[in-house]
Symmetry: C2
């Protein structure tokens, strides 16, 4: 399951990806960049996610130290989610992913055919 390859690179990529692995984690992190949000505010920004799943993924992000969950002892309850310094340090990556994703989508529409030229280069 877990191989701790420390220095030789490679594995850190896996480590990082595991932390943001979860259907909605990336988007949640994105919306939390530089912003503190309550549970339902976050839900409103990610309409497709269900409460259960959002809760679960937020808890995992909390467990992994990417965000903090602050419960206010009020009625009605208020719970605020906010990125930790560690979570905020993902900002360049998240923004890069956003840009890359946007460009990818743009390429889908544009006539930028990659062609299905096949493995015609197969030698004799």
């Amino acid at each position: 399951m877990r191989e701790l390859l420390t220095s030789d690179g490679k594995c850190p990529v896996e480590t990082a990806l595991e932390l943001i692995d979860g259907k909605w984690k990336g988007v949640a992190l994105y919306h939390l960049l530089g912003e503190t949000l309550r549970f339902n505010e976050l839900r409103r920004r990610i309409p497709q996610v269900t409460q259960r799943v959002l809760t679960k993924q937020l808890r995992e992000l909390e467990r992994d130290g990417l965000l903090t969950r602050t419960v206010f002892a009020e009625v009605p309850p208020r719970v605020e989610y906010r990125l930790t310094e560690l979570g905020e340090s993902l900002k360049p990556i998240i923004l890069a992913l956003r840009q890359w994703g946007a460009e990818y989508r743009a390429r889908q529409d544009s006539p930028h055919q990659e062609s299905g030229d096949a493995a015609a280069k197969a030698a004799a």
Copy 2:
């Protein structure tokens, strides 16, 4: 921060993450950065992955335009995997993830925590 929703109302961050979602895709992409590798060369670099899964994830990456798969009509067969321009454009992100992952693990060792708990022992 602007929404930047794509045509199907999906966040670009999500789009990007979907493409590299898959237990071994990130590592595979990492190993293919600037390098053309044969199937078994890739396997050797990711010893934990099984044949079936590696094949599947590589095919998905190919389908999504991140790499090319070139089959040489030889005996024994030779299949080379190589990142497309689009795949190579992920390089800064992959490298950033690698660095971030390394720093994350470094932080695990040195007690720099701020939110007291979450230090639950990972019971097997």
